[in-house]
Symmetry: C2
Subunit: 491 residues, 2 copies
């Protein structure tokens, strides 16, 4: 386990470096190194002695944590064993080529460049699902890779409930006044924005002796190992909104990884419980904190020092600007209310692909139809449509739903934390005073310190006091949206 | 071979990151990851199937390059096989602890903090020498690890000849006028110095799409892989000399690694021929180019744009300042003439240690005596004496001589290149015009493109047209010093 975690750590650093520091000519060499690393990892996972050791340990009387550790190790090993080495290699190679083709296709706004690669990837992914096995549908095999126990049967109702719940909220907002709020236009000096984000992080409790803030094309968090969890952001000199919210988002991921129990770090449960739970931490800090009025009441005076064009603004103006709602084409730039609808588009399409109802060639049209259905708008170009996300090119089929699971979990956790911390008035007071430690400590205690020792559903149920059998309960999420946007747009 | 090179590449990136980017709290986790990587590498090297394959290939009719490839692989594997896994692990662990203790001891100027660690390291190194075996003396086993075929028998005469040759040159200089030349004092804006170094690199042919320039406590070069060779420098805002010369030094190493034949990169001969040959490349660009008058005649107008305090200077003044000679206590800040004497101190002490004539406890005094003997001065403190270098703390016993071998080889190569490029007047004209490609191409052709396919001595003999049996011929080196400093100080 220790060696496997060390190999993971190396992979994390290689990935971080690739996206932040690596000179462009290093790319082909780096891909080859990544391939070797993946094959060494796969080789160690499927090693028979490792399997025997795990079997032996599974028969021992173990405490709950050690049992979870062994179970998680067996899960990882089972997945590795089920996949033929040939398929692992072909997927790795095809996805490297496919990602490059996707980049080119998106730049050229030409789906045909990407199509043969996407077809190949979907073929390999279909083979992968068969190798992994599933109870009801092939899509379940993919979903489970990113979110333990997630199935179409459980996710379908979540998507239906969220779409149905958001529709009236969105209709109210679209019929309201004051929707045009934006941060003041002007030149936000990039160095000042980065410095502001860095100072903000440190005020909120992220420490630069165990992390870094860098720039990258797509913001991400990288847990390299003990005491080393790095984040990135990106800066638009015309609008600092994304830089700030992305920084808070990634900080949420980083807090999770920094809060994992040190004694478990070199084991299988020294990790986040799932992609969905990980995303709940980033959404919580981005949306429930960074998009709240109380946060800006405390933060704005400090923000004005470095972000000059904010000079004449009130906290209410910033609050409105960071919560502006408008159906739009690009997921990563979507507001909090329409964001889930972008995920619903992808869920529907992935399901249709996995059921064999949709071919790669028909994806651009299906995309437009699904956007029209869920958001009421459709892209003119594939670059702003089916080509916008990297995920399918690298084989991340089944990943998108974890973004919505993250939002759903975040609301449940924030509601429970708010109650424990004395109610929403109390929490707003803390935010206004720049005090985030009580919230962070609550998350440390109820989420971070449990690592992957519990399944996602059980972990969230334990933290929120809800019924673990209830599945993805969307009530707190929809209440939060209705309440917040009802206040903002007076409905 | 390919996998071993990929593991090396990973190790290189981990090392680069550790010295440039890693947040401090990441250190313990990183050390553990490095340990795992080293053990995976050792495990693969000693794998019996690998040994059998190499034996089989050695019996095949192979061309010269493939034969060299297999020989080099066997050399690496033989070294790994001779070392018990226990010793490899103990050395790795002890050196990690020892390096930390050395750092503390140097900061506190207290040799006693370092002493038990140094004793332990020297004990393990002695065991290593016995495990590796040697013909004449234990020191030979250490030397051979860094410089193939280097022995006390061959290096002794080189050191004697260099010391004897430098003495009259140094005496002449010390009795001359105009020794006090320095770059003008003033504030050299650190960002401007870094930008100048970066632009200088690019003018000289180092491309930022296959490299980077960063800052680190000790400048170094890191060949991470194909198309990715990074360098670092350090900046003193009171004096840009070291930043510029270190940049040119590391650029020399980088040119070597970038010039290795691409087809060999994932084999054992896709590497520099030895530490000494690698150092010849850095010394050549640092000393024969960067410390030449012609270089500054071309470069000074450009340097003045970013390095403001140089405003009123002439090329001759810069030339004098970067060639100022003065016996001093710290090796890394020594001038070109006294530098070899610092290496001689270390050679003598290492030899005495390996012969059992000198114990760790007596090193501080022995250091002072040896400094007095070779340089005529002695440090007041151990921080400026025996504690100044990191090498012994990490077990790099036998490494120092490669610095002098580098200087000796650099002069031989530069003399040969000068001849081939039409003589020193012609070469000075090229430098004055900022044209460095002809020299770089000569080095590419005669050194870089040969990788490690030849032994160091044979490679240098081939490039310079000298006798491969002549050993370390110091004639070109001493002529160069005598001529250059004779001109400078009129003797």
């Amino acid at each position: 386990m220790r060696e496997l975690k060390h190999l993971e750590s190396v992979g994390a650093l290689l990935g971080w470096d690739e996206q932040t520091m690596m000179p462009p000519s290093g790319a082909p060499g780096r891909a080859a190194v990544m391939g070797t690393l993946a094959s060494i990892e796969h080789e160690r996972l499927i090693d028979e002695r490792y399997g025997e050791l795990l079997e032996t340990l599974a028969d021992e009387p173990l405490d709950e944590d050690h049992r979870a550790m062994i179970e998680m190790a067996k899960r990882q090993r089972d997945i590795a064993v089920k996949l033929p080495a040939r398929l692992v290699r072909e997927l790795a190679e095809a996805s490297s080529l496919s990602q490059a083709a996707w980049q080119e296709a998106r730049n050229a706004d030409d789906f045909l460049i990407f199509r043969p690669h996407l077809e190949r990837m979907l073929e390999l992914k279909a083979e992968q699902a068969e190798a992994l096995g599933y109870a009801d549908e092939p899509y379940d095999a993919h979903l489970d890779l990113f979110e333990r126990d997630a199935t179409v049967k459980k996710l379908g109702p979540m998507f239906d409930s969220v779409s149905a719940g958001i529709k009236p909220v969105l209709d109210e907002i679209m019929g309201s006044e004051g929707r045009e709020a934006q941060l003041p236009s002007g030149w936000y000096e990039p160095e000042a924005v980065v410095r502001y984000c860095s100072e903000l992080l440190q005020r909120m409790g992220y420490r630069m002796d165990s992390g870094r803030l860098d720039l990258s094309a797509h913001p991400f968090t990288c847990g390299i190992g003990r005491g080393d969890v790095r984040i990135t952001t990106r800066v638009d000199p015309a609008d600092p909104k994304e830089a700030i919210l992305a920084t808070l988002h990634e900080m949420g991921h980083a807090f999770y990884h920094l809060g994992l129990p040190e004694a478990w770090l070199e084991t299988t449960i020294g990790a986040s419980a799932s992609f969905g739970v990980d995303e709940s931490q980033s959404r919580l800090w981005e949306n429930h904190v960074g998009r709240s009025l109380a946060f800006w009441e405390g933060e704005l005076p400090r923000a004005k020092v470095l972000l000059k064009p904010l000079g004449g603004q009130t906290p209410e103006q910033i609050f409105r600007a960071v919560n502006r709602v408008e159906p739009s084409l690009i997921r990563v730039r979507a507001d909090e209310v329409t964001y889930p609808l972008h995920i619903a588009v992808r869920f529907d399409l992935e399901l249709a692909i996995c059921r064999g109802d949709l071919k790669a060639a028909d994806l651009p049209d299906a995309w437009r139809q699904s956007m029209q259905q869920h958001l009421g708008i459709a892209p003119q170009t594939d670059a702003e449509g089916v080509l916008q996300d990297v995920h399918w090119s690298v084989g991340y089929l089944g990943y998108f739903p974890t973004y919505l699971i993250g939002s759903v979990y975040a609301s449940a956790l924030f509601a429970a934390a708010t109650k424990d911390l004395g109610g929403s008035g109390e929490v707003a007071g803390l935010f206004r005073a720049g005090k985030f430690m009580p919230l962070l400590e609550w998350l440390n205690r109820n989420v971070h310190s449990l690592g992957a020792s519990k399944k996602p559903g059980a972990l969230i149920a334990g933290a929120t006091g809800s019924d673990p059998a209830a599945g993805y309960d969307t009530t707190p999420y929809l209440s939060y949206l209705r309440e917040k946007y009802g206040d903002l747009y007076s409905f």
